[in-house]
């Protein structure tokens, strides 16, 4: 059963092509992620799906309803959480929730079961002004407000941006629980590690979808060999790797540097010797499985090679 369908969407703002031929499908009850940096087109896409802006070309339906013609009906079955958690700063937690419940023609009590697990965490603060909440709490409140009318489709635009790691983890736990209620959820995020928490993801950059697949599929499709290189001096390591003749890419990745060789002639021993010569100590080179971020970066690199070839 398809919940959301987009076909060849185009949208530009002046010179900027925000969406460049976007097509995808989301199944009912799926937790679908759009992964990409700022400017990739995530917000533009979500605004089209929530009937807030019109596409230049293309079509989209949500639950069988056309986003352009059937916008009135759609607006009553969608739950939308835009970026920056648009809440009313000078209303309390409780007042915000009541307001959103009433404009959807319902009450807090009616669908309380749905938001209970989320709301209990902020309920002790229900008399506090929304503007005085921490980032994590605002996030929970915004989610509650988006859910209070039991939407069929939940659209979350960068709900974890600017929020600390703990709240992010908690948020995704809440999303997974919501899936069991049968709600279709689409989420956008710049955090690549969150991709692995979705059923399927679309990697999006410069208005184009580079790849749509399950996270494990994306990792499986990664063609190159990937190594994690670690020494005692990361900065020097990066410089030296750039000078190593067998290097294709070398990017810092937390505690180590992720390295891809130009071709299959690469041997770990050659690299270790090279680094040892450059006075590195505690040298450690290991073949590793890529993360979604590694895959994203590889797709990005491929895309810019294509662009250069085009021009």
């Amino acid at each position: 059963m398809i919940s959301i369908r987009a076909e060849h969407l185009y949208k530009n703002y002046g010179d900027v092509q925000a969406l460049d031929d976007i097509s995808f499908e989301v199944g009912k009850g799926e937790l679908f992620g759009f992964i990409g940096p700022d400017g990739a087109g995530k917000t533009t896409l979500f605004r089209i799906l929530t009937t807030l802006i019109l596409m230049d070309k293309g079509q989209a339906t949500v639950e069988g309803l056309d986003v352009v013609k059937d916008y009135r009906e759609l607006r009553s079955i969608l739950g939308y959480m835009p970026g920056r958690f648009s809440l009313y700063q000078d209303l309390t937690v409780e007042e915000n929730l009541q307001f959103f419940a009433s404009i959807f023609g319902t009450t807090i009590e009616e669908n309380y079961e749905l938001i209970r697990d989320i709301y209990v965490q902020i309920e002790p603060f229900k008399k506090r002004l929304a503007g005085k909440l921490s980032g994590g709490m605002k996030q929970k409140l915004a989610l509650s407000c988006a859910l209070i009318h039991k939407p069929v489709v939940l659209v979350l635009d960068e709900p974890t941006t600017g929020v600390d790691a703990v709240s992010r983890t908690e948020f995704w736990d809440m999303l997974k629980k919501l899936k069991t209620d049968g709600i279709t959820i689409i989420v956008s995020t710049p955090y690549m590690d969150e991709a692995e928490l979705c059923d399927r993801v679309a990697l999006i950059q410069h208005g184009q979808i580079m790849k749509i697949a399950r996270p494990d599929q994306i990792i499986e499709d990664y063609r190159k060999k990937l190594y994690a290189v670690k020494t005692n001096n990361t900065y020097q390591l990066i410089q030296d790797l750039k000078q190593f003749p067998g290097t294709n890419t070398a990017f810092p990745f937390g505690q180590s540097v992720h390295f891809t060789p130009i071709d299959d002639s690469f041997k770990i021993n050659n690299l270790s010797a090279f680094l040892s010569q450059r006075s590195h100590q505690n040298i450690n080179v290991q073949k590793i499985k890529p993360s979604v971020e590694d895959c994203f970066m590889e797709l990005m690199a491929k895309e810019s090679v294509n662009k250069r070839q085009e021009s």
């Binding site: 019109l54 009553s76 970026g83 648009s86 209303l91 007042e95 404009i103 959807f104 023609g105």
Partner: protein, 368 residues
Amino acid sequence: MKRFWAFVRKEFFHIFRDKQTLLILFGMPIAQMLIFGFVISNEIRDVGIAILDQSNDVATQQLTDKILSSGYFLLEDKLSNSDEIEEVFRRGKVKEVIVFEPQFEQNLVRTGKANVQIIADASDANLANLISAYTNGIIQDYVNQKNVLIPKPMQIIPEVRMVYNEQLKGSFMFVPGIMALILMLISAMMTSISIVREKEMGTMEILLASPLKPFQIIVGKVVSYIVLAFTNAVTILLLGNFVFGVPIQGSVILLLLECILYIILALSLGILISSITDNQQVAMMISGFALMLPVILLSGFIFPIENMPIILQWVCQLMPAKWFIIIIKNIMLKGVGFGYVWKETLILIGMTILFLSISLKKFKIRLD
């Protein structure tokens, strides 16, 4: 309907929790009234004068007493010769010098004519005009009194009376003007800022993505500010009446209804402004410059329209405030009924319908 009232309720929360804006909204009319009432005054009181009495007889003494007892003037200096006149003006305290010619009374009795010179400091031309007129009036009065005892040929003596505002009290002028100004400010500026703020904060996105119709959003904002603006209108009228003695000769109901009409007009202007910009500061500036300044300068509030060049006079016809002030003044000071203000009311209704339809059309159901 419930959704609508939920929206209105939220608006009232916003209004009452923004303490700073509340202070301005309610404090402003009071402050304006007090400033205009007590500080700015184009009435004459205690103006410094000097007298050069070259005659020093009974008549000049009587005239001098009459002038000084009017309450308008204060004797700063008695001069002894005409050389001192320029010096006393330079010092600044004296705004007018009255010179009685030598042998004043004798001339008056023998020839029926005597000369008095009124020299006024016209570096403040308005004041000079006023005080010389007042002085002249007092002198004429004296002459008339004296003439009662002497048979004289028939003369037509102009008698000037200021109707509806006998004492030319300034307050009768500025209360209608302040109402026009404040109601425009509150309604247009506050509404436009409120809508634009939602756009800036991002909450407008959620509202639009909900089943709430855009029509309900606009009307919701309008309703809350009507209540606020109306409260202010009543405050101004009460202040004007009890503190400054401005009467309400005509029907109070009609007056309040006209106020509500004007408020709705200003509110639709506010909505129109909000559809042009996404930025609170721009909204505030547009409301300020495009609305407030013209109201002050071009509505006849302070500067008479009749004195302006023809082109500007035509522009003034476009100012809603101008028509509103006419209506208010007519009802309050002349006590007329609807029959006398229907033309102006019709004009206001026409403007309201025009602005409302434009703003409703321009209010977007989408963010684009």
